[in-house]
């Protein structure tokens, strides 16, 4: 009875930390030996995307942004975080979820135009960390690599989508965030 109380590194953890999809016992069994990778799931225009959590340095609320004149269309501007100046991108443009970037920098900015749940994910990048704007941050999910489905032709995505995963009834799209910035 008191077993539950005491700490064991291998103890069963149900509930918040959902394992990946159910599959047939055979794949499940082989999936057992793999270690799951943690991803951060977030929403863009209602679609659920995910990025390995090791790539996420930080999650912050959307601060005032300074626009850069004559910058590429997916660059929203730059933000200041603890003395660092980082570029912030709107990945919806590349993902064709939007025609143009959100109008949230500059003096005519409408911060009301974006959902209040919007956040900026600060992503580690060897060329300098960058921020990406997302509509909403969801939770940390764990996926075993063998349960990830590669993209069928026709689903689109070019080289910036890495695969699909199923979380319950939901579809999660795995994103290569660095390619989505180009």
């Amino acid at each position: 009875m008191l077993e539950q109380f005491f700490y064991h590194p291998d103890e069963e953890v149900a509930g918040l930390f959902r394992p990946a999809t159910e599959g047939d016992p055979a794949t499940l069994a082989s999936a057992e030996e793999e270690s799951a990778i943690e991803y951060l799931a977030f929403l863009l225009e209602g679609e659920c995307y995910a990025v390995p959590i090791s790539e996420i340095r930080e999650i912050v609320r959307v601060p005032p942004l300074t626009e850069i004149p004559r910058s590429p269309k997916n660059l929203l501007g730059v933000m200041k975080i603890r003395g660092e100046v980082l570029p912030v991108y709107d990945v919806k443009v590349k993902l064709k979820l939007a025609h143009e970037r959100a109008g949230i920098a500059g003096p005519d900015a409408e911060l009301e135009g974006i959902p209040s749940s919007s956040r900026i994910l600060i992503v580690r990048d060897p060329d300098g960390d960058v921020g990406i704007l997302v509509d909403e941050v969801r939770e940390v999910i764990r996926l075993k690599p063998s349960t990830i489905e590669p993209l069928a032709p026709g689903i689109g995505g070019g080289d910036y989508l890495l695969g699909l995963a199923h979380l319950g009834s939901e579809l999660v799209i795995l994103l290569d965030v660095h390619k989505a910035l180009l």
Partner: protein, 701 residues
């Protein structure tokens, strides 16, 4: 020449102490012949010899001083790896020690014997014999590290040697970065070094050029060790330190390496080296060629600092801590329950502390900036070598002079200047300077002169690169300009000499097949100009046909802090480096005229081009009755920038835009005006370039 008897006994006592420590060290050395030497041991012996030499010279004890000097020379070669440690060498050192004892004993008694003098001479000769032998040749097939001058600037020769040595032995080299509180960084650093020394060798400790958060002081420690990454991590687990491998291997290891363990993660390639003569403890491992560039890049992020400068920084910090304590006390006083609200006296005290704070912070800031300053002499020396080499290659006779090597400039600027200056100097020798015969025909000195001189002017640095060669040929420039369509022929005829000269900075003039047409000028000058512009600097040329040419580069002394004019344009705020602004004026729409559809403005008799910043930056323009003009640029390339409003002036720290934003045209960086948003700092040089030469559209980021 011995001093008073008190002085003598002091000398003998001190010298005896040094000899004691030498004795201990040499005993260890004796046992270590043939085994791997602890670098600290040789260092310790070297220092003892050095101290003894100094001490003896002060007291006029020439015999001891001379022998100590000989010992120093020998030990220097030993620790730099130029001489191998053998039993004979140790014998010679021990003999020297014995000789010291004898001579010191004599001196203490007030004696001076022939015998002892002769023994000293013999010992000196014995040491000198080793020193004179040819330096040890390393027969390694891979002498990997061509560590060039930029690395040498950071590491002393000894440290460089230790780095090579460790790499030869297959050690891994890490850069350990630690950030300490300003108030006790010396203790923290000592503790960290002590910890690291238990598992490897600390090659160098350098203050970091990357201050990080700015609330502490950061160091980069170059550290060599054989231990695993995990062991290093656990050793550093309670310290404010992080680490990364110093180098990336250039190519992946050959397949035989796979057996050695799982492939390293992408970010942390490990370095494995192999040598035909393996070091005794290590089996040979497959070789991975080392990228000299990555070595250089890895190390030039660091800067070597004068301890004196650090000391004065510490003083400033100390005073700041005092002020902080006073302010805390005042705050406490005000918060006491039951006390009446603070009055004027209290306010006055607080005000005084805040004044002091401002002054001290100012001092601290200046002090920190000074730490980043390095003398230009570093590059000037390199230029001298380049001139000699190029002159030899092109069979010309060139003398090179340089002045102003002591002028100090921010380290980042020095590094960025290296290429452009090299370019200018190469141009001068290759194309500006005539052959010996031609010079003689023209009645010039057969030996040409190229000179580089740097001077400080206020908070700017001016660098002149001159030669007494052919100079620029106006007619040729005119022809090329017309032919390439840069200017119309009518216009070309009207351009003055100065205006023609400025054309050579355009890309159209840099293509190789134009070289001979312009008497050689123009190779890559647009790149030079862009590079200088990125440093918030300007470049100008002054030339007389047949007599020579001088390029003048004007730079701010430090990139880090710049006095800026804060302006607003279409509701956006920008900062403009004040050193680029020669004039400020206010105008109305009526004052704007056009020439060939380009807007211009008349200012004090001269008509100069006008650019509206709002239009340039594609911001919505506001119709204003009155606008402000900032005149930027040098004599013949000036531009009036129209902005909506002037908000003030202030010193700002410019952070260059990094990573993907590097190539943003017209923007030099971003700064903090205290608001939540960053404020962009303009690059006036690039803007002038863009407006005055509209054929060159800015590249998009």
């Amino acid at each position: 020449m011995t001093g008073s008897s008190k002085g003598l006994s002091d000398f003998v006592a001190e010298a005896a102490e040094i000899l004691d420590s030498l004795n201990r060290d040499l005993a260890i050395l004796d046992r270590s012949v043939g085994r791997r030497l602890q670098p600290d041991l040789l260092n310790g012996i070297f220092r003892s010899a050095h101290s003894l030499k100094g001490l003896a010279s002060m007291f006029g004890e020439q015999r001891i001083a001379q022998l100590a000097h000989g010992m120093e020379d020998l030990l220097d070669r030993l620790r730099l790896g130029r001489l191998e440690m053998t039993d004979e060498v140790v014998d010679a050192l021990i003999e020297s020690l014995d000789t010291f004892q004898v001579v010191l004993a004599e001196t203490g008694r007030g004696d001076r014997s022939e015998q002892a003098s002769r023994r000293t001479e013999a010992a000196c000769e014995r040491l000198a014999d080793f020193v004179d032998t040819a330096p040890l040749e390393h027969e390694d097939a891979l002498d990997l590290l061509e560590l060039d001058t930029q690395v040498r600037d950071v590491l002393t020769e000894y440290e460089e040697h230790r780095l090579r040595q460790n790499l030869r032995e297959g050690m891994e080299v890490w850069k350990v970065r630690a950030v300490f509180d300003l108030s006790d960084f010396d203790r923290g650093l000592a503790r960290l070094n002590a910890n690291l020394k238990t598992i490897g060798e600390v090659i160098s400790t350098l203050p970091s050029a990357d201050p990080g958060d700015g609330t502490g002081i950061a160091f980069d420690i170059i550290f060599a060790s054989r231990v695993s990454q995990r062991k290093l991590r656990s050793t550093l687990s309670n310290m404010p330190a992080s680490f990364q491998p110093l180098f990336q291997a250039r190519t992946s290891a050959p397949s035989s390496d796979q057996r050695q363990g799982p492939a390293p993660p992408a970010a942390a390639a490990e370095l494995r080296l192999a040598f035909p003569k393996p070091v005794p403890e290590e089996p040979p491992r497959p070789a991975v060629p080392l990228d000299a560039d990555s070595v250089r890049r890895a190390l030039t992020q660091t800067v070597r600092v004068d301890i004196g400068r650090l000391d004065s920084l510490m003083d400033a910090v100390g005073e700041l801590l005092l002020i902080k304590a006073n302010v805390a006390r005042l705050a406490d006083e005000a918060r006491q329950p039951g006390k009446p609200s603070p009055g004027k006296l209290w306010g006055h005290q607080l005000y005084r502390e805040s004044q002091l704070l401002e002054r001290k912070l100012d001092d601290l800031q200046k002090g920190i900036l000074e730490v980043r300053m390095v003398p230009l002499g570093q590059i000037l020396d390199k230029l001298a070598g380049a001139v000699r080499r190029i002159a030899r290659e092109s069979e010309k006779e060139v003398d090179f002079t340089m002045r102003g090597g002591e002028v100090e400039v921010d380290k980042l600027i020095v590094e960025a200047l290296s290429d452009p200056l090299m370019h200018l100097v190469r141009n001068a020798v290759d194309h500006g300077i005539e052959s010996v015969e031609e010079r003689q025909r023209r009645g010039k000195r057969p030996r040409a002169l190229v000179s580089v001189s740097a001077t400080q002017r206020g908070n700017q640095v001016v660098i002149d690169v001159s030669d007494d060669g052919r100079g620029l040929d106006d007619e040729r420039i005119r022809q090329v300009a017309v032919r390439t369509g840069i200017v119309g022929s009518a216009q070309a005829a009207q351009l003055s000499s100065r205006e023609l000269h400025s054309l050579i900075f355009l890309p159209g003039f840099s293509t190789a097949n134009r070289v001979s047409e312009l008497s050689g000028r123009g190779v890559g000058l647009d790149v030079v100009k862009t590079n200088i512009s990125r440093l918030s600097g300007m470049i100008d040329i002054h030339s007389e046909a047949g007599k020579g040419a001088t390029f003048t580069i004007t730079l701010p002394e430090t990139l880090a802090i710049v006095r800026a004019l804060v302006v607003s344009v279409s509701g956006r705020v920008y900062a403009v480096p004040l050193n680029a602004v020669s004039e400020i004026a206010s105008i109305t729409e009526k004052d704007v005229r056009t020439v060939e559809r380009r807007e211009v403005i008349a200012l004090r008799g001269k008509t100069i081009p006008l650019a509206r910043l709002a239009r340039l930056f594609q911001h919505p323009e506001k119709p204003l009755s009155r606008q402000f003009l900032l005149v930027v640029g040098l004599a013949h390339q000036r531009l009036a920038l129209a902005v909506d409003d002037l908000l003030g002036q202030q010193d700002v720290v410019v952070k260059p835009l990094r990573g993907r934003l590097r190539h943003t045209s017209g923007i030099a960086g971003a700064t903090d005006l205290g608001d939540r948003k960053p404020v962009l700092v303009l690059d006036p040089g690039a803007i002038i370039e863009e407006v005055v030469n509209p054929e060159r559209r800015p590249e998009l980021v």
